[in-house]
Every structure is written in structure tokens, then in C-alpha cells.
Amino acid sequence: MSDLLRVATAGSVDDGKSTLIGRLLHDSKNVFADQFDAVEAASKRRGLDAADLALLTDGLRAEREQGITIDVAYRYFATPRRTFVLADTPGHVQYTRNMVTGASTADVAVVLVDARHGLVEQSHRHAAVAALLGVGHVVLAVNKMDLVDFSEEVYDRIVADFDVLALELGIRSVTAIPLSALHGDNVVEPSTNLGWYAGKTLLDHLETVPVPPRGGSVGARLPVQLVIRPRSAEHPDYRAYAGRVAAGTLRVGDEVVVLPSGRRSTVVGIDTHDGPLEEAGAGRSIAVRLADDVDVSRGDLLAAAPDAPEPVRQLTGRVCVVAERQVRAGDRFRLRAGTREVRAIVGAVADRLDVTTLRRTDADALELNDIGDVTLRLAEPIAVDSYAVSRGTGSFLLVDEATGATVAAGMVEHPAAV
């Protein structure tokens, strides 16, 4: 059980997103008095009547000057029941890369909709990014219910529209909540204005929604970070492979394959500084001892023998360009997957995906914020899973060899496609 929930929100000030986050933090008593005073003072200097809660999250000078969220802002809050990491991202199309970044680690995405306007282009985009990045659960927060007289019909219509969209996008788990962030209805406290609504408040829901398992639906996967070999008087022969379980659950006694070499061995011990474990689930940082003296080093993947992936020299990936440069056929990158880095050449750019309509168009090049499918040829074999079954071993980065910049974030579609 992990009681750390990672939540991604996307949207602009107009949706009332900042107000919602401010309300969530404020009503759950997670805003400090000096932070609030600073926001009030800054709001007054800018000639605003009330405290602009966006100033709580917009941390950079440029963001405050322009009154917009540019970068991902992380907020932390805790209730007695759960600890939350909130990745707050801007909602406009030119910040798709920030949305993708926030969604990449999220367990839950909150899609905020203005009850007066229903689903708009931006709501489509937020839901699509959540679906593309495999976020396990989506909360549809129908905000500004006070401005539609807390109408059940309006709410029902939006929920029905979203159900259609979710089905199209393949989002399996959705919970809709009517609320008013400005007045606090249904954010932390239940609202008498919404007497027809029998569900939970937003906070209550976030506190109790099951954390989707990190492990995906594959066997154990451990990207090896380094070899621990103390060679000390106390531990002359100790040798273990340190890493964080990226998928599945690893158990003592499991047969594992070292990839890409393909050698096999058996797990004889799972160590942590606080004592040995019998098993370790996804997310745990461990050191693994094997029965045989096999060659293992950083960049290798230990995978459960029954469903170990075949190493590939070619793959199809859906990429989102996150830097100011193009991705075209023939471009060379370093591909980073797990702890392994290999050289890669873009074979072809297949298409570009319109993140709002989900329509595909032919494309020769992808630019900043574009999402599309590419084929990649690799200088050395790597072992990956498809992103749909394992986020941890199905994700990769394309890195510019000259500048070191992260150019694209990728999700493996077909590990062995030709």
C-alpha cells in the first residue's frame, strides 16, 4: 500500500484552476499564514480586490509578470489520511509538453470544466494527454456550479458528454464531481446547494480513491543502476545489483533473465539497509543478489523469466517533442530507457496526432509540443515493454547528442515492429 498519491491538474486561470488548488490547500489547512499574507500583499500591489491564489503556485518572476503558469509547479499537502504531490500544469496548447511532464508521473488527473461552457477544446486536450500518458484515473471536476444555479441537468449533460469522450480515449476509470471552487462547495466540505449529489467531495474522493498500482500488468522488471560490491573485511564477497523495481513484483526464488545478454539466474536475496525482503513491488529501491556469477552492470534489465521481453534493435514509439527543435527522419539521438542508453536514428516520422481532435495527419517532421508516431533504429539491442502494459519499462527519452537536451519523451508502442 502506498499512501502517496500523485495528482496532475491542467488548466488556465479562466477555468478557476488556481482557485480550486488554492481552495483545496486552504480548506485542508495546508496554506501557511505567511504564504497567504504574501499573496494578499502582492495581489493588492497589482490592484486586485481579492487574494489571487494563482500567486501561490506561480513561482517564477516571468509567470507573475505575465499572470500565467508556464512551468510545472509542484505543491505538497497532506491530510491525516494521505500525502499528496500535486503537479500543476498550464493548459494551453503551447504548453502541451508541460502537461505531458505532469501527467507522466501522475496516478490521477483532474480535468477541470467550467459548468457554463461544458466541454471545450482544452478539456478534450487534457483528457487526451491523461489517456496518452496512461494516467490510471480521471476526476472530472465540474466547476462554477454556482453560476448555473447548481443545476443537476447542466451537470448531467456535461458528465454524459465526458463519458462519450472517455470511451473514445480509452479512459477506463472516471469520477465526476460538481463543485464551486470560489465558494468552496464540495471541494473539502459538502455543499447543501448540491443536495441532489450523493457522492464524495473532491478531497474526500482524492483521499480514498485506490492508488492505481505502479507496476503495470507485466512480470517483475528491475533496471540495474549500479553494482554494490563493498570488498570490505566485513563483506568481502558481497555483490548485489541495485535498482528500483519498475514493474511487477520481484520475489526471492524468482528465475530472472539478464537483458539484453539473455543469461538466466535465480534471485537468492532482496536487500535493503533496513533488512532483507521476501518480495519487492514496483517503486521499491532494492539490491538483488543472484545465485550465479553472471555478468550484470548498469544499463542491464533483470526481468522475470516467464514474460521477459525480447531485446530489440528497432521500435515504434509515440513521442512528444519537448524542446525547441524538430524531429525528422534521419535524425540521430541518444535513446534513454530505464538505465540504458543507446544511439538511435529516426527511421521515419509516421504521423502527427491532433491532441484535441485525436485526428492523425501525415507529417514529415514533429516540432515542439507535437505528438506523433516514429520508428527508431537502435545501435545496440534494448529490452523494453509496450507502454500500455508497463509505464516503467515502456517509456524513453530522446536526448540531443551535442547539447544533452531532452528533445522528446517517448512511449513504446510496438517493441519489435519493423
Partner: protein, 311 residues
């Protein structure tokens, strides 16, 4: 007899414990990535609570081996003796090399000029960058947390610094999943923040859970203090009271430990770790707001210092 409320408490304790373990696993992963991808890492160790927790996590990350990098303190010379004693003792216990980058030395050598009446905190940048160059450190592990300050909330876990040590907040690498890109050009280095996702309360709960020792000034004690700039400052050789500043004895503790001239104490009776947790959980002020004069200068004080190469 087990009551319903006992069961409830037990569940809450389990939930907190699970959240701490998740943070610990993430930090250990980051520390191992640093050692796996860099030649010459160093860990900034001041003897403050965050760097103590980071050192504890490093102990765990490479166990049963030793921590495979030295530690460094950027020393303003305005220290609390309890903290320096703790720093030296802890480094010795773990068998670690301790590099001290001294602000006083840099002043003596004419690298920087001290402005009378001003804190030495911003002066740490030059000796820090000099030490990074001298020792050819390519990754510098810092204990900063995103919850501390709003510019820090925008900082990456792996944060690239150019040859001048500068941070460019508008040109940061997006950080996705748990793939940290530490590829740098010659002359550049990376600041790495394994505690990015921890809060002050997480730090104290972890100190309690693991029974970690911290310097005594974190717990309530009696001390000669006086008021200045809305802070409660201790009487030290570096902070003598000025005319009109009334010295009194109060029961205080420190929430942050830094340069003695700009780190204020808070009135507190919390003498144990559990009492500190209870106090932190109900505090109405952020730790930097309550205790750090240097962050009050402007809305962007921290962003400006960070751009120049500060921690």
C-alpha cells in the same frame, strides 16, 4: 482491548509510514542514478536536518558498501558550534572526506567583498563554485526541498548549471517519469535534489521513524536572544546586540540552521522529536518565512540568488 480509534490510528500510522517509504525509495533511486552516471559527485552537508536526512539516505542507497563520495560544507564562518561539532563527528563516523569551502578564505583572498551589516549567505555562491571547479565535481547533491520556497518549487531534480554556475529557469529540461537526464557539456555541472518531494513534516517524521540524531539546537533550549528585523536572533560573537536591542533569556529552538546572522529562532517548548512533529504539524508559518531574513528581501529573492549559482 483494541478500540475502533486504536485501529483508526494504526491505519493512519501505516499510511504515513507507506508515504515515507515511497519518498525514501524515490530519493535512494536518485542518489544511485548520480553515482551511476557521474564521475565526481559530492554531497552538500551542513549539519542541518535536511542534509542529515540526505546523508542517511545515501548510507542506505549504497549499503552494505560505504558512501562513494565526499561531503562538502560551504562555511560562512558564522556557525552555531553545536552544528559544526555535529558535522565533523558525523562525517568521521561514516569515514567520509569533508571538504570545507570557506567564505572567510574567499574574503581573505579578495575573491569576494563583505558588505558590513549584511548576511554572508549570498556570499556562499563564489566559494561553492570555486570548490566545484577546484575539485572538478560534476554532480552536487543538495538538500533543498520544493516546499521551501516558490522558486524552488520550479526546480528540477537534476538541474543543469552552466560554466558560471547559473540557473536558467526558463530553459530547464522537462523531467518525465523517473528518467533523469544528466548529460552535460564540459564545464557544466548538475545540482541534484533528492529531497525535492519531501516536506518539512516528512523530514521530521523520518527523523523520528529512523531515530536519527540532529544537532541539539533543533530542540527547545534556553538561550540569550534579542529581536531584530522581526526575527529572534541569538547572542553570538557574530550577532552582538546593537544599541537598544534588549537581550533576554527565552526557551527557543531552530527550525532551520544556517548562517547565524540571518537565521532566527522560534519560541518553542518542543524538547523531543514527537513534540517537534506536533509543533510542525500545527505551525501557521513556513520555515523560511519564520526564520530566514534573506528570503524576505523581495518576491523573487530566492530566484535571483539561484540564477547566480546559489544552492
Amino acid at each position: 482491548m483494541t478500540t475502533i480509534s486504536d485501529l483508526h490510528l494504526e491505519h493512519l500510522t501505516d499510511a504515513r509510514d507507506a508515504a515515507l517509504t515511497a519518498l525514501e525509495d524515490e530519493s535512494i533511486h536518485i542518489l544511485r542514478e548520480v553515482v551511476g552516471s557521474f564521475e565526481r559527485p559530492v554531497l552538500l552537508f551542513s549539519g542541518g536536518k535536511d542534509s542529515i536526512v540526505m546523508l542517511r539516505l545515501a548510507e542506505k542507497a549504497f549499503s552494505p558498501g560505504r558512501i562513494p563520495f565526499p561531503v562538502m560544507h560551504v562555511d560562512t564562518g558564522h556557525n552555531f558550534p553545536e552544528v559544526i561539532e555535529f558535522r565533523d563527528r558525523r562525517a568521521a563516523e561514516l569515514g567520509l572526506d569533508l571538504v570545507v569551502a570557506s567564505v572567510q578564505d574567499a574574503i581573505d583572498r579578495g575573491r569576494i567583498t563583505e558588505r558590513p551589516g549584511q548576511s554572508r549567505n549570498p556570499l556562499q555562491t563564489v566559494p561553492l563554485l570555486d570548490a566545484i571547479t577546484e575539485h572538478r565535481f560534476d554532480a552536487v547533491l543538495g538538500g533543498a526541498r520544493r516546499d521551501e520556497e516558490k522558486a524552488r518549487a520550479k526546480e528540477r531534480v537534476f538541474s543543469i548549471r552552466d560554466e558560471f554556475g547559473q540557473w536558467d529557469p526558463r530553459n530547464q529540461r522537462p523531467e518525465l517519469w523517473d528518467l533523469y537526464n544528466g548529460r552535460i557539456a564540459p564545464g557544466e555541472h548538475v545540482r541534484v535534489f533528492p529531497l525535492s518531494n519531501w516536506t518539512e513534516l516528512d523530514i521530521w517524521r523520518y527523523i523520528a521513524r529512523d531515530g536519527i540524531e540532529v544537532p541539539s539546537i533543533y530542540y527547545a533550549h534556553e538561550r540569550e536572544v534579542f529581536d531584530r528585523d522581526g526575527m529572534v536572533l541569538a547572542v553570538t560573537p557574530f550577532t552582538p546586540p546593537r544599541d537598544g536591542e534588549q537581550v533576554r533569556v527565552e526557551t527557543v529552538r531552530y527550525r532551520t540552521v544556517g548562517d547565524a546572522t540571518c537565521t532566527g529562532a522560534v519560541r518553542s517548548t518542543a524538547r523531543t522529536v514527537d513534540e517537534v512533529i506536533a509543533e510542525t504539524a500545527t505551525s501557521r508559518l513556513t520555515e523560511r518565512g519564520a526564520t530566514r531574513a534573506d528570503d524576505r528581501a523581495s518576491e523573487a529573492a530566492m530566484e535571483d540568488r539561484k540564477r547566480e549559482g546559489y544552492f
